[in-house]
Symmetry: D2
Subunit: 362 residues, 4 copies
Amino acid sequence: MTFTFGKDFKLHVYGESHGESIGVVVEGVPPGILIDTSMIQQELDKRRPGSGHLVSSRSEKDQVTIRSGVFKGKSTGAPITMTIPNTDVDSSSYEEIRHIPRPGHADYTARVKYSEYNDYRGGGVFSGRMTAAFVMAGAIAKQVLDEHGIKVLAHVVQVGKVRMEKEVSSEDIRRNVYQNPIRCADIDSVSEMKAEVEQAKAEGDSVGGIVECRILGVPAGFGEPLFDSVESVISHAIFSIPGVKGIEFGSGFGGSLKRGSENNDSPVIDDGGIQWSKNDSGGVLGGITNGAPIVFRVAFKPTPSISKVQSTVDLEKMEETSIQITGRHDPSIVPRAVPVVEGLAAAVMVDLMKRNASQIHH
Amino acid sequence: MTFTFGKDFKLHVYGESHGESIGVVVEGVPPGILIDTSMIQQELDKRRPGSGHLVSSRSEKDQVTIRSGVFKGKSTGAPITMTIPNTDVDSSSYEEIRHIPRPGHADYTARVKYSEYNDYRGGGVFSGRMTAAFVMAGAIAKQVLDEHGIKVLAHVVQVGKVRMEKEVSSEDIRRNVYQNPIRCADIDSVSEMKAEVEQAKAEGDSVGGIVECRILGVPAGFGEPLFDSVESVISHAIFSIPGVKGIEFGSGFGGSLKRGSENNDSPVIDDGGIQWSKNDSGGVLGGITNGAPIVFRVAFKPTPSISKVQSTVDLEKMEETSIQITGRHDPSIVPRAVPVVEGLAAAVMVDLMKRNASQIHH
Amino acid sequence: MTFTFGKDFKLHVYGESHGESIGVVVEGVPPGILIDTSMIQQELDKRRPGSGHLVSSRSEKDQVTIRSGVFKGKSTGAPITMTIPNTDVDSSSYEEIRHIPRPGHADYTARVKYSEYNDYRGGGVFSGRMTAAFVMAGAIAKQVLDEHGIKVLAHVVQVGKVRMEKEVSSEDIRRNVYQNPIRCADIDSVSEMKAEVEQAKAEGDSVGGIVECRILGVPAGFGEPLFDSVESVISHAIFSIPGVKGIEFGSGFGGSLKRGSENNDSPVIDDGGIQWSKNDSGGVLGGITNGAPIVFRVAFKPTPSISKVQSTVDLEKMEETSIQITGRHDPSIVPRAVPVVEGLAAAVMVDLMKRNASQIHH
Amino acid sequence: MTFTFGKDFKLHVYGESHGESIGVVVEGVPPGILIDTSMIQQELDKRRPGSGHLVSSRSEKDQVTIRSGVFKGKSTGAPITMTIPNTDVDSSSYEEIRHIPRPGHADYTARVKYSEYNDYRGGGVFSGRMTAAFVMAGAIAKQVLDEHGIKVLAHVVQVGKVRMEKEVSSEDIRRNVYQNPIRCADIDSVSEMKAEVEQAKAEGDSVGGIVECRILGVPAGFGEPLFDSVESVISHAIFSIPGVKGIEFGSGFGGSLKRGSENNDSPVIDDGGIQWSKNDSGGVLGGITNGAPIVFRVAFKPTPSISKVQSTVDLEKMEETSIQITGRHDPSIVPRAVPVVEGLAAAVMVDLMKRNASQIHH
C-alpha cells in the first residue's frame, strides 16, 4: 500500500473507516504560514454528510485536532499532523458479509491482496471516509496558496444524466457552490440535479457525475515534465479518490475531435503581459502551466453501494449468491467529492510551486 | 524537470530532439530475463515515421544500441541502457522563430521555466521524439511481462471525428493493428480514418484521436492504493506523452451517466475461479486489479504543428505577430502513439508486479 | 525538513519536544504480523530517562497508543500509527534564551534555516525526545524480523574515556544490556563507566561514547548497491540520531591500518553452508550482506547541554555573551541511545528484506 | 540494485567494468550553468590509474562524451548524460574463477543476490571503475557550486600505517594534492606513504587508508533533518564507494572521548557575522550546516585484490580451495579515491542547496 503522496509537499495518510481515527501528517509546509484551525474545520464540514436524503446518514462531527507543526499560530516547517476521531462506528453489518464481496467495491481485490488480514469494517482504508484526510491536508495547502494568490475552485457539472446548462464564471463558483447540497455553481440546475439523486435513492440505486476544478492565479512555469507534468501529477492525485474513473484537461476528450487550428490557443498581449485567446489547453502546455487557469474535469462512477439486490459470490463456499447492502451510504458521492478534489488539487499546486522554487536560475 | 519514472522499475530518460542521441536507463529489470535486441528494434520501428503522407517526413533509422545490463543475452539486474542516435537533424527552421512561440506547443512555457537556456531546436525535450525512449523501455518491460503471461495491446479507436465502428476482440487487435498505418484493429474503419488524416493534411491542419489500451493476463492484486492505485500510476505515465489531454478507465466518462446497478460488475464463478460479468471497472476495483483485463482510453489533442497561418506573439518585441510553421510534422500523432502507450503501460505493469512482490505474506 | 525514512518500509515521524505529542506512521508493514502493544511499550521504557543521576530528570511515561493499521491483533498492511503524549512539559527556561544559541546545539542552525518560526521549546524537532518515534517504529520492525529469525542487539562499548574491557558474545548482550543503566554487556565494566558519567555530572559536564550494534540471522543477499548498500542505508538512518558523529562497519577505521591479507575474510564451508573465517567485513561485502552478523559501531559526541558557563552570542543584539544551561539534561545520552540504534537498524533491515523480495528471479 | 542517488540533483549511473561503457545521467542541473568539458576530463584524469607502480595497470583513456543537456555551452535544465568507453578490457582471467569468490570482494554476495546472471567480468558493477561515473557527475556538481563560491577539497591523511604528520591548510590541499601520486597535502609525508604502498605491493599485499574532505564556502542552513541531515546524506553517498568502511564528521570517534565542555564549539562574532571558535562539529549542528567548513574523514579498507595465495571456496564443488589473484589491481585504492570522494560530496552539496531553495520563506 502507499499512503504517501507528493515530493516536496507530502501527505502521509493513516486510518480506517472504523478504526480509532483518521489522520494526515503534512510534510513540507513552508515555515511562517498562518494556520487557521477554524478554516480546516470549515473544509471538513464541507465534506461531511449533510442534510440526510442526498447523502449518507453516518453522522461524524469530524472535529479536527492539530498535533504538531504549528507554533504561535504559524507553521514551523515541521510536519503538521491533523486527526479526526471515528466515533459513530457500527461495524456489525460488515461481519456477516465479509466473505461476500459487494459488486463495484474493493472487497474482493483487498482480500486478494491483503489476505484475511484486511480490515473490512466499513471498507477499511478503501472507505470514502479516508478522503477527510485529503481535505485536511488540502486546507493547509490552500492556506499556503492564499499567500501566493492562488485559488482552487471545484463544482459539480453533472449528476447522473443531468448536466449543468449554463456557463459559469469563477465568481459564480465561489459564490454558489457551497450554498446548495449539490455543490453546483449554476443555481438553476440544482433542482433537477437533486431530483436525479432523489429518484435514484428512491429506486435503491445511485448515480455518478462529473466535478470540474479550476485553479486560478497560477503563474506560468509550474510543472516538471517529462514525467511530472502538471497533468501527470494532478491525475495521479485525483485517481486516489474512491470512485474516480476518468480525468480530462482543457478540451480533453472533446478536443480529440477538433482540428489543430481550432484547438490551439494563441498567446495574445494584454496589459503588457501574455494572455491566451481561449483555454483549450486547460492552462497547461508541454506539461507546464502557461498562466491561464488550470481546468480539469473528473468523472465519478455511480456509488457502488446500492440497496438493490445484486448477484455476487461467496468466497468461502465458492458459490454464486446475492447480496442486498444495508447500512448508511450516499446515493451520490459527487457533491461530497467537491472539497476533496479541491484539497488534492491544492496539495499538488504547493508541491509544484516548491519544486519550481528549487530550480536555481543563473 | 523530471526525467525519471517508476518506483521499483524505473525509467531514466535523456536526450533532445536535435541533440546527439536519445536514451533511457532502465533500472530494476529482474535478473535472468532474455533480452532480444531485435524485438526492441521492432518496437522502435512501430513508432517510426512511416509511409510519408500520414506522418512526419523526418527519417531516422532509430537503430538501438544496448550499452549495459545485458550479459550472455540475459538481464543481469543492473541498469539496461539503450540509445538511438539523432542523425537526420535540421535545426535551421527553429533559429528564426525562437522568440515566437508556436501555438499549442511548449515553446512559451519552456522559455518561461528554463529561461533562454532551453534547447528549442525541434522542441528539445518536449519533442515527440523523446517517446522513442519510452518505447525502448517498454520493450524491456514487455519481455519481462512475457514471462508472466501478461500482454499489452493498444489500438486507435478514433481519429479526428472518425470513430471505429465495430467492437474488436483482443485477437483482432493483436492481428490487425500493425498491419495498417492507422493502427486501427477494425480493418473496415481504416480507409475512412486515413481519409480524415489526409484531408486535414491537405488543409494544412491536423487531427487528434483516441487510443485504447488493454492489458491481458494481469492477476488480481496489483496496485498500491491509496495513492498508487493502478489508475493513478497509469495516468501519471500516460500524461507524459506529448499531446495527451484525457484518460478514462472502464466505462469512464460514460459510466458517470449510469446508475450503480448498471455500472457495477458482479463477480461470477467460472472454471473454479472468479470472473466478472462485464468490465465497466476496466479491471480495477479500489485501485487494485481484479483479474479482468485493464482497459483504458487516452485522448490526444490534434498535433499543434500545422502549416496554416496562426496568430502568436514575438516575445522579444512583445508584440503580436503571426507564424506559419514549416518543416516536418505529423498531421496526426495518434497512430505513432500506439506503441508509446503500450510501452509505458508495460513499464507500469512491471513496476506494480515488483511492488506487489515486495509485500511479504505470513 | 525530512521526517520520512525508508523506501519499502517507511517511517513518517511527527512531533516536537514540547508539542502535544510525538508520533510515527509506519508504512509498509507486511500484513499478518502479530503486533504486541506491550512489547512496543517495553521498547519505549528502555529509552525512558531512568534512575535519576545518570540521565535526564524529565519524567514522561511515554504511554503508547496505536491509532491505525492493526485489526484483530495483527497488522493489516495499512500504516500503523503510534503516538505518545507530551505531558511533563516546562518550556519556561527556553523563552528567555531563544536568541542565545546553546553551544553544540541546533539552536543557531534551526534559526537560520527556519527563521523565527522554529519551535525552540525544548529543542523542538531537534530534541532527543524525537527518538521515541524511532523506537516505536523499531518495535514494529523487530516484530517483523522476529518472524524471520533476525535479531538486533546494541550495547555500549565506550562511555567517555572508559572502554569495555572484555570481548562479549551476542548472548552476553542479550542477557546483560538492559540489566544495568549503562547498557553495557560486560557487567565488569559497568561500575567504571557509571563513575565516568557521575564525575562528568558532578563537574557540570557531559561525556560521549560508542554504541555497537550486531544484527544476527540476516541471510546473504540483502542490500541494494551501488547507492543503497547496507552501509549506506544504515549510516543514513543512524546519523538521524542526535549526537551521532561517526559510524564504522566491521574493522572500520582500524581496518584502514591493516594489510589486505589480514583484513580479507575468507569463506569456509561449515555445516554444508558458507561461513566466514572472521568478520572484518562486518557482514557486508560489496554493499550486500554475506550471511555473517552485521556489526557496526556508532560514535556519539558528549551531550552539548552542560551546566558549565559557556561563551556564545546573542543573535538579537549581535554581541558575544555567555550562557549557563539549566533544566533537565542527560550527562550522557549514550545509554539511552541503545534502543534507538536498535530500532533504526531493525527498520532498515525490514526495508532491505522487502526490497530484496521485490526482485523476481527467473 | 539501486543506481540512482539524490533527490533534487540526481545521479543515474550505468555500466559494468567490462561492458561497452560507463555512464551517468545527471538530473536536476540548474539551467544556465557553464559546462566546461575539459574540466570534466581533468577530473576523470585525476582518478585514472597513473604512473604504474602505485596503482592498477589497466590503461583506460576515459575520454568523456556529453550526450545531452548542454546547449551553446550551458546546461539547459535537462539531464546531462556523460559516458566513457571501456576499451582496455581483458575478461579472460575472470572466466576461470567465476565459481571461486575472491576474499574481500563482492563475488560471493553478488552471486547469491543475482544468481548466475551477475556479470562477474572485472567485478561487473562492483568494480571501482564505476566510480568514474561519480567523478563525471561530481564535475558537473563542482561547476554548479563554483557559481556559489563553494569548493570541495579532499586529500589523503593516512595510507596503511602512515599518517600525515602536519596540520594542513585548505590552501595546502588546493596546491599540493594533485601534484603527487599519493594525493597527500603534506608534501613531507609523501615519500613515507609511497614507501608504505610500495612495500605492500612488493609483498603481494595491499594497504587501506583515510581520506579527509573539506567543503568550504557552504552557508549556514543546508541539510534536511530529521532524516536527511548533512551527515546522513553525505554518508549515504560515500558508502557507495567500494572499500569504504567508516566515516566521521568533525571530532568524530575522537570526540566521543571528550567532555561536552571541550567538544562544544562556541559561536563568536567576527566581521559582523557568526563564526565558530573551532570546528569539532565538522560544520554541522543538528544536521544543518553552521557556516563553518564541513569536514569529514573516510576509512578505506585495504584493497581486497592481492597476489598472495588466499583460502576460499569453490561454490560449484562446495569445497574449500585457494586462490591467487592475477591481473591488474591497485595496491592502494586510496589515492584514486580522492576525486571520487570530492565528486560525491559535491553532488550532495548541490542537492542540499536545491532542497534548501525549495523552502519558501514568508
